[in-house]
Symmetry: C2
Subunit: 378 residues, 2 copies
């Protein structure tokens, strides 16, 4: 029998909860209707989609009519960024950070290529976007400010609330990519003060291929994908009913278990760090020690590359950075942006925990990583 | 016990094949990896996606590297239309037809709004796009010709091969929305001579929320959604692994059963027509009697609206037009484009058959529709 490696890559993707799969199955089997059909098959599917919309809205503390379903976090970010800037043709400026996921950074680069002005704000040594730079950057020509809620590599929480406040004073819409935060931390879109917020199903124990965008009532937005009138004309295409149902249930469970899960995972994460600190003299933490996701541990192994450490620790499934960059032997731009020298940055390993992580996993993984590091050192 | 209505709306959506659900389940349960992850969880997911890509390619007779996965047919059409026109900035002209699905018509309208010239070719009384009009419309400034393979409402097959030949002579790329045709008819993209072809999973017994775009090697294309490098940089976002696996299996089964299914469904469809013609004097067929999908029957009930006929025939689940327009009490633009007067066009009902349709369904549905028509007549 083959044992699977210890999975410490929950920021890359999460397994579906059994309750999520169970909720999806009837919509993959008997309830196959198209929500746009007027007959009973269609109405049943439509009602399932609307039920899921309410569950997502409950997790985010918004109205269900403010939730649009998308094919995932990437599309949600694209819709927010392209959709607001197209709707606000009078304002040709966007402000973002240097540490965004490509699903935000690339649409911003597209805008720049097409005549928009894009300002990218830096981060401090703890990996937090500099609010004072935002204050100087945002002006009355700014259509949109887009800042991730937490960084996918370091887990560092960004000062989204403060940024939203100053941006909205100047009439800019505010978007946050909260794919990594939702389900790990309580998120209330009203308290946060954002106009748009992206979530990705597969980061919170729902399936891949589904996500959602919160769009505050009154936010100017144009669709990115065009077609028939689904999702109030803002996201056409036959709804992915089963996966939407799965996302709804995952959100309901996330809300229910949020505090207990966060506490349990934080304790395990901190234990992992203590064991690594004991086994790997000189190991460093990337990013802010407390203002970060409870499940995320980004560390720098001294004198060895993160890739080498992981290659030697075959008992552990983790990554050196975001999954979307896997395979590239180069330092993370996110870590470099914090002012960490290249040679050190190359030692980075991201360890991210989740619902399935046990104390035994943590102990075994720390041992395996420390052993691999000892062999990988020059 | 409630009996469900007889489902005659397979062009709106299809139930998943049990084999498709079975193939998906392991990827909703244990094999949850992110295909971009470098570890074994990721490699397993990646390999499942690539296996599915080969199955889709086999059905379309192309190379697997020419298949991009999308969130469905709508996104595939948008990617084709926006992607080619963005890549071919030197050519600012698009040619399409007046009978396209909104997922094609709306991106074309967007282009027109943004400075492209768009020519919309009409159809003859049989519902086929006029090749001579295409011949006059396409010129050396044409970036893209986009024509659906078969119409979703009438099922009428479009002269895509002829149009592709004349378009390619002038250097225009050719796209066809084949969402309704793939799985119902043999499609060989090389013989057809198109550069891009869209498919939608949920039209061929695979799940909603997944589709694919065939892109012939060498076709200029830019991504619509931007992000990390998934799908060769042309369609970023973590792959919808389970649904992609389902689409692959559905394509494999479609290829295997194509001829037998088409023959069986065509016979049932023709029997439905004969029964309706006997029970509803004056009923008319919309569109070409033979050059149409084997499963599709679009008819005009005389002296009663299609909505009224369907409302009275509660034993039958069908629609008056495309599902994407359901709920609107207005005549189908597709039927009007064939030159059918408004009053007659309003009598239209679309009956579309599939794998689950039986001879008894056909007999009962014909009875129910004829009875409802007799009550609905003035």
């Amino acid at each position: 029998m083959t044992t699977r490696p210890i999975y410490l890559d929950y920021n890359a993707t999460t397994p579906l909860l059994p309750e999520v799969v169970d909720a999806m199955l009837p919509y993959l089997r008997e309830h196959f209707g198209n929500p746009s059909s007027g007959h009973s098959y269609g109405r049943q599917a439509q009602s399932a989609v609307e039920g899921a919309r309410e569950r997502v809205a409950a997790l985010l503390s918004c109205d269900s009519s403010e939730v649009l379903f998308t094919s995932g976090g990437t599309e949600a970010n694209n819709l927010a960024i392209r959709g607001v800037t197209e709707a606000r043709g009078d304002r040709r400026h966007v402000v973002t950070t240097v540490i965004e996921h490509p699903a935000t950074a690339q649409p911003c680069a597209w805008l720049e290529h097409h005549g928009w002005r894009v300002t990218r704000v830096g981060v401090d040594e703890a990996g937090r976007a500099r609010v004072d730079e935002f204050r100087s950057a945002v002006d009355s020509t700014t259509a949109l400010v887009t800042v991730m809620h937490s960084n996918n590599e370091t887990g560092v929480l960004q000062p989204v609330g403060e940024i939203a406040e100053l941006a909205r004073e100047l009439g800019a819409a505010v978007h946050t990519d909260a794919a990594q935060s939702v389900g790990k931390l309580p998120i209330d879109v009203r308290n946060l003060g954002v106009d748009l917020l992206s979530i990705a199903g597969h980061k919170l124990y729902a399936p891949k291929g589904v996500g959602a965008l919160y769009v505050r009532h009154g936010t100017p937005l144009r669709p990115l994908v065009l077609g028939a009138g689904h999702e109030r004309g803002l996201r056409p295409g036959t709804e992915n009913v089963a996966s939407i149902v799965g996302l709804g249930i995952a959100c309901e469970i996330a809300a229910r278990d949020l505090d207990a899960n966060a506490e349990r995972v934080r304790r395990l994460r901190d234990e992992l760090w203590e064991r690594l600190a004991a086994g790997v003299p000189g190991i460093q933490l990337n990013g802010h020690p407390s203002l970060r996701l409870p499940n995320t541990l980004s560390v720098r192994f001294p004198g060895a590359s993160g890739n080498a450490v992981l290659a030697g620790a075959t008992e552990v499934a983790a990554s050196t950075g975001s999954a979307c960059h896997a395979g590239h032997e180069r330092a993370s731009a996110v870590v470099l942006a914090m002012g960490i020298p290249l040679a050190e940055a190359l030692g980075t390993v991201r360890l991210t925990l989740g619902r399935g992580t046990t104390a035994m996993d943590v102990a075994s993984a720390a041992d395996a990583l420390a052993r691999s590091w000892r062999l990988a050192r020059p």
